[in-house]
């Protein structure tokens, strides 16, 4: 009896084992199918298959730089993509765009679409400028206005055009002020001479007042001579004051012109420096956004890459394979050569 019972027990254990495996496989299969469905769902959601969109279009002169599927951005966020590009009978290019409906309230009916480039080495994107808000939110099948971003060389030329008059103005003002024959320098020279003459006259008058005191004590004859001298001195003083007055009048007449020129120059410099700042920070609309953003985006790209590499290096098991970083020293070479010191323990 026990001889039959033993194999029966083994068979029943095997059956139970097989049942367990079958249950485990079913669970695994269900989980796998669920994961696959979820992945497809996430992919579809990411691709915008489940997003409600509105169709808008615009007309461009050329399809250069545009392609089906390219991103449409609003203040840097992707809000849609190009659905179709076609040519109309009058040789215009009709670009149909699908916009995510949730951004509808942020884009106005008079919004403008602009072809821009993401940095100098980046791809083209269509950028939506929201509009004034007077026409309300954008509607389905709306036709938007399109503009093309000026090329970088045109922007640079525009900038140079702005700066050139400033330099010319500054040069003109400097020449005017520095010219020895110019009214300004002559007026200053005259004023200097007149001032020197006044100083001399003042010294003479002091002497005269002193001698007047003495004169009263002496004879009347001497007093008359002194008065004659005083009269002469006063005439000299009057002449000096007249010269000074003339010089000051000239200066007075010249100064408004100088001030105006200076004002203009300073304003031009301000405008030019604003433009340069705009270029540098990428805030200059419609001018040289590419050049302005290049540095910032390049730097961000490098920073991101560094961050990714750092993260990868610190992740198991890579962190065990990468040697720890240390300050590298140049060896003291008695011949004046430059060579690195080998890491500790290598030599």
């Amino acid at each position: 009896m026990s001889m039959i019972a033993e194999p029966m027990k083994m068979v029943s254990e095997m059956r139970a084992g097989l049942r367990d495996i079958a249950v485990a496989s079913r669970i695994f299969l269900v989980v796998a199918v669920l994961a696959l469905v979820a992945a497809i769902g996430v992919l579809a959601w990411q691709q915008g298959a489940l997003t409600r969109t509105i169709d808008v279009s615009f007309f461009a002169g050329t399809a250069d730089g545009m392609n089906k599927g390219m991103a449409v951005k609003l203040v840097g966020f992707k809000v849609g993509s190009v659905d179709a590009i076609s040519v109309t009978p009058d040789l215009r290019v009709k670009v149909s765009v699908k916009l995510d409906e949730k951004y509808r309230n942020m884009i106005d009916g008079d919004a403008v679409v602009r072809l821009a480039r993401e940095g100098l080495i980046g791809g083209n994107v269509l950028e939506v400028r929201p509009g004034s808000g007077d026409k309300g939110p954008i509607k389905d099948k709306a036709v938007l206005r399109y503009e093309r971003e000026p090329a970088l060389d045109a922007a640079v030329v525009a900038l140079v055009d702005q700066i050139a008059p400033v330099i010319a103005d500054v040069k003109q003002v400097t020449t005017f002020l520095a010219s020895p024959e110019g009214d300004f320098r002559q007026a200053i020279g005259n004023a200097n001479r007149a001032a020197a003459a006044l100083v001399e006259t003042r010294a003479d008058l002091k002497k005269l007042i002193a001698s007047l005191g003495e004169g009263f004590d002496r004879s009347e004859k001497q007093l008359a001579a002194v008065l004659d001298t005083t009269n002469g001195l006063l005439q000299e003083t009057r002449a000096s004051v007249a010269v000074l007055d003339g010089s000051l009048r000239k200066m007075d007449a010249a100064l408004p012109g100088i001030a105006t020129k200076m004002d203009q120059s300073l304003e031009n410099i301000r405008v030019a420096s604003e433009a340069i700042r705009g270029v540098a920070t990428g805030q200059l609309p419609g001018l040289v956004g590419d050049a302005g953003t290049l540095v910032g985006e390049g730097s961000a790209l490098v920073s991101d890459t560094n961050e990714i590499v750092r993260g990868a290096k610190q992740t198991w098991p890579v962190r065990n394979l990468v040697p720890p970083r240390q300050e590298l020293r140049l060896r003291l070479d008695s011949g004046g050569g430059l060579s690195a010191m080998p890491p500790e323990g290598k030599r």
Partner: protein, 283 residues
């Protein structure tokens, strides 16, 4: 069994997540990483022969280290900066960088201070300020404890150069015997070539031209293998001087021309002038 599988999976998943996660980086870590990164860039720039660029990287790394009073890093980058300035023939700037270590030696590790003093002696030697060189070399030798000091062979070579400059060629050769042995024992081809050069020059002074040429040619061979233009030019100049002493004008002219070409390509103005002077002095 199922429970066991679930348990293992449950434990394994967070463990794997933990292994795969990246710890957050603090500002100090970020600064130190930037500093090290600059140091590595400088090394690569030196490898490409862009010494000026390397100096720029070291300057920035030193600035970051100084901003956080990271003394070990200040020591390393000050020394590296001094080495690059020296290679650029900017002796005053090199001295300024070394002063960061030599002015407050207590803040830095002894090997760094020894190297700084040694490099200061080398700068003085290059400027023919023999007494100053003697003073700094003496200080470096005094502080160089044999067990931990890695600059011993370099200091011996500097001592040999100083003796040679002072006219003690025989003594210089005696010192070079030890330096050569030390360099070979360390497996340091750069210092071996330096020792051979000093030995060759000393032999030439003593009229042993055959030995001088042999030593200098071996030095040239080693320096070529290391790819160090500045030192190749030094070897060629020394060879030209030996040939002049032997009366071999054509060979001397050839070496001097090669030295001029190498120093031009290597970008060393001082060596160019030296090679040019030598070339013009050959009748």
């Amino acid at each position: 069994m199922r429970a066991a599988i679930l348990l293992v999976a449950g434990l394994l998943a967070p463990a794997l997540c933990g292994c795969g996660s990246v710890p957050p980086q603090s500002d100090t870590d970020a600064r130190r990483e930037r500093q090290t990164d600059l140091g590595e860039r400088a090394q690569r720039a030196i490898g490409r022969g862009e010494v000026g660029r390397a100096a720029g990287y070291y300057r920035e790394a030193l600035r970051i280290a100084e901003a956080t009073e990271d003394f070990p890093a200040i020591g390393v980058y000050a020394l590296n900066l001094a080495a690059t300035y020296q290679a650029l023939d900017e002796a005053a700037l090199a001295q300024g960088a070394l002063d960061k270590v030599l002015a407050e030696p207590a803040r830095f590790e002894q090997p760094l201070v020894v190297e700084a003093a040694g490099r200061r002696a080398l700068l003085a030697l290059q400027a023919r300020q023999l007494d100053t060189a003697e003073e700094w070399l003496g200080r470096a030798e005094r502080d160089c404890a044999p067990a931990s000091c890695k600059a011993q062979v370099a200091l011996q070579n500097l001592r040999g150069q100083l003796l040679l400059e002072r006219g003690n060629a025989a003594e210089a050769r005696a010192v070079m015997v030890g330096a050569l042995a030390g360099a070979r024992a360390e497996g340091n081809p750069e210092e071996e070539a330096n020792a051979l050069r000093v030995d060759g020059r000393a032999a030439a002074r003593l009229g042993e031209h055959g030995e001088a040429l042999a030593a200098l040619n071996r030095a040239l061979d080693l320096d070529k293998r290391s790819g160090l233009p500045r030192k190749i030019a030094l070897d060629l100049i020394a060879l030209a001087e030996v040939e002049i002493a032997r009366g071999e004008r054509a060979a001397a002219r050839d070496y001097a021309r090669r030295a001029l070409a190498v120093s031009r390509a290597g970008g060393s103005k001082r060596q160019q002038e030296e090679a040019q002077r030598l070339l013009e002095s050959i009748p």
